[in-house]
Every structure is written in structure tokens, then in C-alpha cells.
Symmetry: C2
């Protein structure tokens, strides 16, 4: 199947994004749709990680994906090959999604019967960190080629996420990247963060990542 | 030498950024300081490329560097090791520099006797493309691990730059990246763009990049 909508989402008219985000979280709770907001730099491997996640969890739950980009539909096209429900959102030049934009995307996509929705945010380490999307949990990917100094440069992003995936660990031998240094830098900003090294390419670490998602969804459903 | 200022730059009070950018360009022309605005995603190798550029050109011209980041001074610290004049600019959470912010940085740095100033913009493929900094020329880096689909997703950035460096080509064997596909995608957006594959790590392609800079500075000085 290769059918998916592309929608141009409109800029938020609500000044109080925090309130909109809380309202969306309540709605999603009623619908029993757990929403994960996945953020990272451009090219860190978000879409490949989404594909691995779908593959690991598709037999246990109904998954849907929202792909947000400034332009293009390459990611929605890729995800659609897996027969997963997917929608492409165009942000009209904006480098983030807020709660109302996320809600527009979810309404177009339709969340009925969806247990787990993944929002692949715009590739950016600055703007997306500043806007609560209404997600149940926030995740980010830092990839090995980007370097281990990123928590120093983009502290807000590393502070607001629940889980950090360190991707492309299959390439660690050719890049100068100190995983322990990243863990130390990140834990200073965010003591409760969970760090999971993965390779979306080889599948390494995806088991641990899928377990994290299962546990979070279970505990969220019991609240 | 490891002495450099860190300044917190203030948000632009000028609504007409284009006008401010043109005024800054005129001032820099009078001062004979060629300003290069260098943009990319986080972790694509901007600072390593800056170090290679300094090394290739330092015997021919006086170089200075402006490092812009949301936070930290790791890049200014790195550049300062080369005895190059450098300043660290903090953008107060903003994901770009505009012309007035660039001017504040240049004033603090001091451009007297500087032939070539490099502005290392905030790591981001969205916001920096939207603001003219007043630079003489605009450059961007796309690194191999980021993937060859980036011109489709961030068309504005690829449209507004004069030169595209494709960095980390030493890693091309382990990533699925089609350089010819990137050239084709980019030339559709920007027919006059110059594309130079480099490895800031090994030095490959830095000769051609240094030649491009020499030619541009010479032709700019003759205008």
C-alpha cells in the first residue's frame, strides 16, 4: 500500500500552547492512543528507527505514524511501504510542531483503534524542544556521526526528553564519539533520562527500545 | 592562546532585516572583510571544516571566526587553539543569526585588518536559511551520514547558498549516499550552486574548497 495524505498544517492560533497540549493529552488518554514525539537533527536516522520500531511492535499493537517536514513526502512514502497508517504533515516553513498542529495531524490521520502513534518531528535540535506537542512521552535520537558534544550545545532538547537513543553505533569505530561522556553530560541535564544505544541499520539495541515502549505504554494505560 | 570572549547577543530590534543586511555588507566592503556564513545540521563537521580552512589559508590572509551557538563555548575553545581570532556568540535560545546579531558579534570581535571572517551559524537547516546575515557569500555543509534526501526536505537552505560542501566522504562506504543524486536534486533548486565533496577529517577536497574561497575573495575585492 502506498496511499497517504499530505496535509499543509496551519499555524497555531492559540497563544497558550501548554493548555492545548494538556487538552490533547487528555483526549488521547480517552482514546487510548499513546503518542510518542520523536525528535533529532536532520539525518540522524528517525525514519529508519521508526521502521524498526514498527517491525518490532506491529504484531502486538496498532501503530500509526505522523511524518512532519518542511517539504517533501519521502518519509511518508517510506513508512507507507510497511502497510502502516501514515500521514505526511507540511509545516509551512516552520521548524517545529505545536500541540494544535499535532492535533490537526491526528484528526486527519484518525486515531480510532490506534494504540501507539509516533510523531516524527521536523529534523531540528532547537525549535521542537520549545513546544509541547501533547505527546505522552518525548524521545530523541543523537547519532554517532553528529558528535558527543551535542548535549553541551543543545541543552534544552536533552533536558526535556524521557529517552535518548544513541543511533548508528555500528559506525562508532570510524567516528570519535565517547558514549560515556554523553551519558555523563546528559545525566547532569536530565537525571531521569533513559539512554539506549542502537543501530537502526543492524537492529542492535532495538529489543531494549521496544521493551521501553511496551513498559511506558503499559504504565500509561494503568494510570 | 585560549582567550576569547563569550557574548550574549540581543534579539534584533529591526524589522527590516534585509536592509540591515545590505548595510552590513556595505560596511564590510569598506573594511575589506569578506564574511562567509557557514550553515549546516548539528554535527555535520562545521568546526572541523573551519579548522581545515584556517590551516589552508592562514599564511595568505588574516582570518577571524564567529562561533554561534545556543549554549556552550566548545567551538570557540577549539578554534582558539589555532591562535585564530575568535568569539563565541550565544543566541539566547534562538536558532539563527540575523544581520543585526551578526553585526553585534563582528563589533565585539573587531574586524580591523581581518581579510576573511567565517560565521559558523547555529546548527540547523531551517531557521538560518530564512535570515540574511549580511554575509558576502553563503556556504552549507551536508555530511554523508545525514543522507542524500536532505535537499528534498530542506529546499530553502539548498536554494540560498552559493556553495555546498559534501563532508565526511571518507565514510561513504558505510552509508547509503548517492552524491550524483544530491547534485541533481540541488541543481534543480539552485542551478548556479558549486558542489565540493570534502573530508574535513582526512583533508580530501580542502584544496578545491580553499581555491573557491580565494577566487571569491579576489573577485569580491575587485568589484
Amino acid at each position: 500500500m502506498d496511499t497517504y495524505k499530505i496535509i499543509e498544517i496551519k499555524e497555531n492560533v492559540f497563544k497558550d500552547n501548554e493548555r492545548q497540549a494538556d487538552l490533547l493529552r487528555e483526549e488521547l488518554k480517552k482514546d487510548k492512543t499513546f503518542l510518542l514525539n520523536l525528535m533529532s537533527s536532520p539525518g540522524s536516522g528517525k525514519t529508519t528507527t521508526v521502521l524498526r520500531t514498527i517491525d518490532a511492535l506491529k504484531d502486538e499493537m496498532n501503530i500509526a505514524v505522523l511524518e512532519a517536514d518542511i517539504d517533501s513526502d519521502v518519509d511518508a512514502h517510506t513508512v507507507a511501504q510497511t502497510d502502516t497508517k501514515v500521514i505526511q504533515l507540511h509545516t509551512g516553513g516552520m521548524c517545529h510542531l505545536d500541540a494544535d498542529m499535532t492535533k490537526q495531524g491526528l484528526s486527519e490521520l484518525g486515531t480510532e483503534g490506534i494504540d501507539f502513534a509516533i510523531l516524527e518531528n521536523v529534523g531540528n535540535l532547537v525549535c521542537p524542544a520549545e513546544f509541547d506537542t501533547g505527546a505522552s512521552k518525548n524521545a530523541m535520537i543523537l547519532s554517532i556521526p553528529e558528535g558527543d558534544d551535542k548535549p553541551l550545545k543543545y541543552p534544552l532538547m536533552f533536558s526535556i526528553v524521557d529517552v535518548l537513543l544513541i543511533n548508528k553505533i555500528d559506525a562508532i569505530d570510524i567516528f570519535d564519539f565517547d558514549i560515556e561522556a554523553v551519558k555523563e553530560r546528559v545525566s547532569k541535564l536530565n537525571p531521569n533520562i533513559k539512554v539506549i544505544p542502537i543501530s537502526a541499520k543492524t537492529g542492535e539495541g532495538i529489543g531494549e527500545w521496544a521493551d521501553w515502549i511496551r513498559t511506558e505504554i503499559k504504565s500509561w494505560n494503568q494510570k
